[in-house]
Amino acid sequence: MNNGMMFTKTHEWVRKEGEGVVLAGLSAHAVTEMGDLVFINLPQVGTKVTAGETMADVESVKAVSDVYSPVSGVVAEVNESLADAPEKINEAPYASWIAKIESVEIPEGLMTEEEYEEYLKDI
């Protein structure tokens, strides 16, 4: 993975933060689809996550959506500030990382920003 942002088909982003360490969050598209977020259920630090499996969920007033882990690894840190202010994700989705994951294994099939934008056109 390069240092740029990569995306999943389920609308998460992931960005390299250090050797074997990434930050992950929700794409602007996902956030727009959900509307105003009112709650985020953050993962617990130390949880083993698997690429493509649920690591958190976010709630708007009338919907709930799973956040899938873009990579496999261990949750090293979570963005606690989102618990009190989930609206930050609406305001700045790419600055609002949800989890810092370490010991990561990057799966096949992540998309670059350009590829993701193409992908969005098709759905």
Partner: protein, 443 residues
């Protein structure tokens, strides 16, 4: 007869024409022939309103309404001020459904918000939902709230109402949670035994306060023990008793639940009543069922809505922790009207009166030969005595005198009776009961 259809025969013909059918049977053409009912249902033809009233009046007279009630065990014969019945019979409250459209449902939403506040006041807890079916299902839902990935065992005091235990067992048959029971010692949860049951697989411990035998549990000791083991503490409390007894919040409970029949609904052969559920802020998002919240409308005016709905089945579907949809809203409102009517002083008066009468009656009954009580501690409005005559036989004899005696107990307490008093039992009736007991036991 009496089918409540406003459309007239002439109008019906016009409607059929609009739809383009000759006969309503055309609507049912999609139903396979072998499924269509041949002939009519084997149910009598409809009858007039007067006939149906007469029929049910006759049936109702086959039930015995006792003039003097000394049986509780979960359902209490309390005095309900007349205003409560009238206010809750208002057609708007009775015929509306869940307030899905807040702009035309402020009355229902505000009444739920007021109810939630009253439950929080009684229990001392931070958050209450809008009610569940009854105290037993509230207890079962509370158990589910406490479940965590590695904590799948629930420890239940045998001081819980036997039917509450049974309902939790049924729900756990579904969820797969494991149940361990703590026996009683001298009528109260055996804390010595409990201390050995608390390991890292235990999700929660639940006790009743007062417990099924009327005993006031040593909830402080139990609460400390439970929290030291990082286990959730659930208290199943009679809300009426909380007029005077220390609150579950005071004992550090994480969740308080119970049946609300004692604060408004009539005995009603056991239903409908309602279950209340209240918890700490930390557990708020695990609370099942409807919750009303305060917000503002587009003009900044105080407005109430159903909130935190993303917890619920209609949004979360198979990921919801509970499937509850309809609750017992009108019964919860009955409680709110009851509590508003009697007020804090009235509720305390009724509670103190119930306690005083229970102590008076216990002394009186204990004074009869063969009616001694087993060793026990402080109690609220229920207590246990032995019976020198087989308890069911004894109660049959009391029934013939218009008295509903205490509840004959089962299991280890076979041969014992659980008595109950409320503010409705007068000294005269209690003295009469004691006289009748003396008489039928030949004392």
């Amino acid at each position: 007869m009496g089918n409540y259809i406003p459309v007239t025969d002439a109008e019906r013909e016009r409607m059929k024409k609009t739809v383009g059918i000759a006969d309503v049977s055309e609507f049912f053409a999609g139903i396979p022939e072998e499924v269509l009912l041949e002939g009519s249902l084997n149910i009598p033809e409809g009858v007039s309103e007067l006939d149906v009233l007469r029929k049910f009046a006759d049936i109702s007279r086959k039930n015995v309404v006792f003039r003097s009630v000394f049986r509780g065990a979960g359902i209490y014969d309390r005095y309900i001020p007349a205003i409560v019945e009238y206010v809750t019979a208002k057609e708007e409250f009775v015929t509306a459904y869940t307030p899905y459209q807040p702009e035309i449902s402020q009355g229902v939403l505000q009444s739920i918000f007021e109810y939630q506040t009253m439950i929080c006041e009684l229990t001392g807890m931070d958050v209450s939902n809008a009610s569940v079916y009854d105290g037993a299902t509230a207890a079962a839902e509370a158990v589910a709230m406490c479940r965590e990935r590695n904590r799948n065992t629930v420890v239940l005091s045998e001081g819980l109402h036997p039917q509450v235990l049974e309902v939790i067992e049924t729900y756990c048959f579904g969820s797969g949670m494991k149940i361990v029971k703590v026996p009683l010692k001298h009528g109260r949860t055996d804390t010595g035994l409990l201390s050995h049951m608390l390991d890292e697989t235990v999700a929660c411990v639940m006790i009743a306060q007062p417990n099924f035998l009327g005993q006031i549990e040593d909830a402080g000791v139990i609460g400390d023990m439970v929290h030291d083991a990082k286990v959730k503490f659930v208290m199943n409390c009679d809300p009426f008793s909380l007029a005077v007894l220390k609150t579950p919040a005071g004992y550090g409970a994480d969740i308080a639940v119970g049946d609300g029949q004692s604060i408004g609904p009539a005995m009603s052969f056991g239903g409908p009543t309602f279950g209340y559920m209240a918890c700490t802020s930390a557990m708020m998002r695990k609370l099942p069922g409807r919750i009303a919240g305060e917000t503002v409308d587009t003009e900044g005016k105080r407005t109430f809505v159903l909130t935190l709905q993303a917890r619920e089945q209609h949004i979360r579907r198979e990921k919801a922790s509970s499937n509850i949809c309809s609750n017992q809203a009108l019964c919860a409102m009955t409680a709110a009207v009851y509590l508003s009517s009697v007020g804090p002083e009235g509720l305390k008066t009724a509670a103190l009166s119930s306690i005083s009468k229970a102590h008076y009656l216990k002394n009186k009954i204990n004074g009869l030969k063969g009616f001694e009580s087993p060793e026990c501690g402080e109690f609220f409005n229920e207590f246990v005595t032995h019976s020198p005559v087989e308890p069911h036989l004894l109660c049959d004899r009391l029934a013939k005198r218009g008295i509903l005696g205490g509840l004959p107990l089962k299991g280890e307490l076979e041969g014992y009776i659980l008595w109950c008093t409320t503010e409705k039992n007068t000294r005269e009736h209690m003295d009469e009961l004691v006289e009748v007991l003396r008489e039928v036991c030949g004392l």
